[in-house]
Amino acid sequence: MKIVVTGMGMVTPVGDTVAATWASLLAARSGVGPIGRFDASTLPVRFAAEVAAQGDEDQAALKLRLARTALDEALAQSGALPYLSERIGVCLGSEAARPELSVIAQRLRSGTLPTLAEFERGAPRAPTELVARRLGASGPVSTVSTACTSSSQAVGEGVLRLRRCEVDAMVVGGVDALVDPMMVTGFSLLGALSTRNDDPQAASRPFDVSRDGFVLGEGAGMLVLEREDGARARGAVILAELRGWGCSCNAYRITDSPPDGRGAGQAMAAALADAGLAPTDIGYINAHGTSTPMNDPSETAGIHRAFGAAGSAVPVSSTKSMTGHLVAACGAVEAIISVLAVREGIVPPTINLDSPDPSCALRHVPHAPQEHRVEHALTNAFGFGGSNGSLVVSRYR
């Protein structure tokens, strides 16, 4: 049974649509810049990969708009889903958003609290419920919150539900919008963010020897998934096959990745096994590649564990070098990028990769895109706390 992609939509710091994002990635264009949404001049990190905000929308409103925009694009591509509402499900990756900070700060000062409605808008499940309402979907609706692995797991959950024939279509994906003063402060205190304030566009540099942390980003990615027979019966255009899914835990430390890449390698191996593929079948790896000192060598070790000798031959890039880290949305956005790489035969680059770290010895794709015939691509997402997810995307035949 094949699970296929029939619609895709996304909003990222480098484009408001799938086509615009893909064009930016192939042009090696960075979406990172000085924070424009609020005055960050006194904060230790003053840049991020933002999407354009509208009016005075707060973090929760921005998340809902991003989810709605990506969903509408995906549905425009997939066309109407002619299934019973109870046979359509939704699974999104999302984290909590705060109400508008001025509101919280002012009310805490005066001893009152934001309203319940303000908190409900920021709940992790709020975007999922919005998507389900907009779709009229009354099938299984769920929200995954495993930090940066969230939407990768949501896509995997959608694949499993379709294989079990619980549903006829799933809308899966993720959304996040964490560029607010508290999150920038919190991640700064953890030492997780790059502090390259003097050159923001060079700050996200996965696998480079001078990388110093990730760049906070925001956006959304949505995919429409169906079984092949259903998609063909309704005459849908099939974009790719979602062929494999694997996940694991590091069981190592809360903040660190294991240097031996054990958990990451286990997720990749599980995804390959689920897809029924050998490491040599994979033509591209879209790496999690966060640009933190810890993640990149650990992921490299994981690739070598799972791929063996093939790990040195497969082209690897991290599009976070351009989009920044979209946290709960990154798994879905990067799954879409992997679909495009398979369809177009072009591998997007890792920009700013001037001096590859010797501890990240891989076949990198630095600075500019490369043409490769990619039958199968693997995309990784690894979350704080050690949750790992890997997806295999294949050319549809």
């Binding site: 805490l108 000062r109 929200t143 953890l190 835990c249 706390g385």
Partner: protein
């Protein structure tokens, strides 16, 4: 789709022994106590004493990274896992969480310090706000960290997932674990949920939501294995469609509402089935 329950664990205001908790609930013996927060909008709560993690952790300093919900999850997970002798590299782990708002009020002082003339000031945040901001807060409040702590302390590396979505999250995690075992993704799965609504911002939130149940806290865990595994206490079946209607769980009156762990506790104590949509039905074995 069916699996065996071969281990259970619970941590409730009435203790950790299932038979004892069930008996106290059946007798209607209250385990509620006065809310200790001055001026609390809720007079009584179902509070768990402790738990003491000393002796349970691989590194003692890890304790400072545990949220209340994570502390309530680890002991029942250890009890449910028991002496399971399989390969923990392959053991699945599925956890339900309900963490809304994003923290239990730990950032309130920092946020309050950032209000200048009725507006949020990033300058104030960079100064006194930053000084008041708990540096480990993000490590305690990310939703997947309950799962991460259990994985780290018990060395579990198999298929995993954290389900968020209000009180139903525990059942969602149970369904995921059941499916993972039934479909052979893992040889066994540890599944659980924990929650706490008895302190700080959660109590205020409880009152604002107009919840009529008494807020409580606790954790519940199950070890699931394939149906023919020896030592089954019960079987669980995933059934399509909503569960038959039933009244509120009787434990809520004497233990409080355990948030996203509440329905799992109900399943463990009295319920024949829980969940909407795909629901889970229990098929008792022996002395279940």
């Amino acid at each position: 789709m069916r699996v065996a329950v071969t281990g259970v664990g619970l941590l409730t205001p009435a203790g950790t022994e299932r038979a004892d908790v069930r008996a106290r609930v059946s007798r209607g013996e209250s385990c509620l106590s006065a809310a200790d927060q001055l001026g609390s909008p809720v007079p009584v709560v179902g509070r768990v004493e402790g738990p003491r993690l000393r002796g349970l952790l691989t590194r003692r300093k890890d304790a400072k990274l545990f949220s209340r919900a994570a502390k309530l999850l680890l002991p029942p997970m250890i009890d449910a896992l028991g002496a399971w002798e399989g390969d923990r590299e392959e053991l699945g782990l599925f956890v339900g969480v309900r963490r809304e708002p994003a923290d239990g009020g730990e950032a309130d002082a920092a946020l309050a310090a950032c209000a200048v003339d009725g507006r949020f000031s990033t300058e104030a945040l960079a100064g006194r706000g930053r000084a008041l901001y708990p540096p480990l807060l993000p490590l305690k409040t990310l939703p997947n960290l309950n799962l991460a702590h259990v994985a780290i302390q018990l060395g579990i590396r198999g298929a995993s997932g954290t389900c968020a979505g209000g009180p139903a999250a525990g059942v969602a995690a149970l369904v995921q674990g059941l499916e993972a075992v039934a479909e052979g993704d893992c040889p066994a799965a540890l599944v659980g949920a924990s929650d706490s609504s008895v302190r700080d911002a959660f109590l205020r939130d409880w009152a604002r939501r107009g919840m009529t149940d008494v807020p409580g806290e606790g954790g519940v865990a199950f070890l699931l294995e394939p149906p023919h595994a020896p030592g089954a206490l019960a079987h669980l079946e995933r059934v399509r469609g909503p569960a038959p209607a039933s009244g509120p769980p009787p434990h809520r009156a004497v233990l409080g509402h355990l948030g996203c762990a509440d329905l799992l506790l109900h399943l463990l104590l009295h319920a024949e089935s829980v969940g909407d949509g795909p629901h889970v039905r229990v098929v008792p074995q022996g002395a279940w």
